[in-house]
Symmetry: C2
DNA sequence: AAAAATGTTGAATTATATGGAAACATTATC
DNA sequence: GATAATGTTTCCATATAATTCAACATTTTT
């Protein structure tokens, strides 16, 4: 993260900003937050796809699935598999970063 | 990413370092890379759990699953669901970050 | 405003992730 | 090195993610 000055535009979601993860909320709150993240994930797919100027059908072809599947990935606030995420963004030639951080430590995963 | 100078230790995996995602490899290569990421993900769980000084059984209790399930998540190079990832790291009070970046743009998801 | 292109939805199917139980293996503790 | 604690594996059930097809809806183009 030192020399990562690659001048990037950041589209940070307000709702997604750092929050006290220590304080566990109610179950509804948890579900809400999960749905939010899933929704955002779908938005990301759509957003990147648009930037690549691809239709759902075209993206589907790249991956090997129907356009309906892409639509679902973009709109459904359902759960998703890591494999699916990687598959989609790979087709979109986008780099997926997944990291976990604790107090003082951060662990890069991909 | 500007004022993210929160002094963090980074455990970067050599194998995981930035690579040309534009150049799509063979299918075996793809699978290899996917397995790698899954393996690393498992390692992360284990690593954070250890830092929290928890046994698999204890972590399991926090989440509400058997220790065998934790073991599987840590060792299995299988696919995993986003919900599961979040659930585990939430129990570990660790913050999960997931982002997607293209050429010039980065999109924060969580 | 028709026609064509693109996106959405629902129902059904298939594949597979989640999970428990118990037996086994490994590692720590005495 | 026996005992206890921790982690692993296998077999199995259940839930649900991935996917298709086809009809429908929306948006874009002409």
């Amino acid at each position: 993260m030192e020399k990562n000055k690659k001048r990037m535009k950041m589209m940070t979601l307000d709702q997604m900003k750092d929050k006290d993860i220590g304080e566990i909320g109610t179950q509804e709150r948890d579900k809400y937050e999960f749905d939010l993240k899933m929704e955002v994930l779908g938005d990301m797919i759509k957003s990147v796809r648009k930037q690549r100027n691809l239709t759902q059908e075209q993206l589907g072809e790249l991956i090997g699935v129907q356009k309906s599947q892409i639509s679902k990935l973009e709109r459904n606030t359902k759960n998703v598999t890591v494999e699916t995420i990687l598959k989609v963004f790979k087709a979109l030639k986008a780099n997926v970063r997944f990291s976990v951080e604790m107090n003082e430590s951060e662990f890069k995963v991909a």
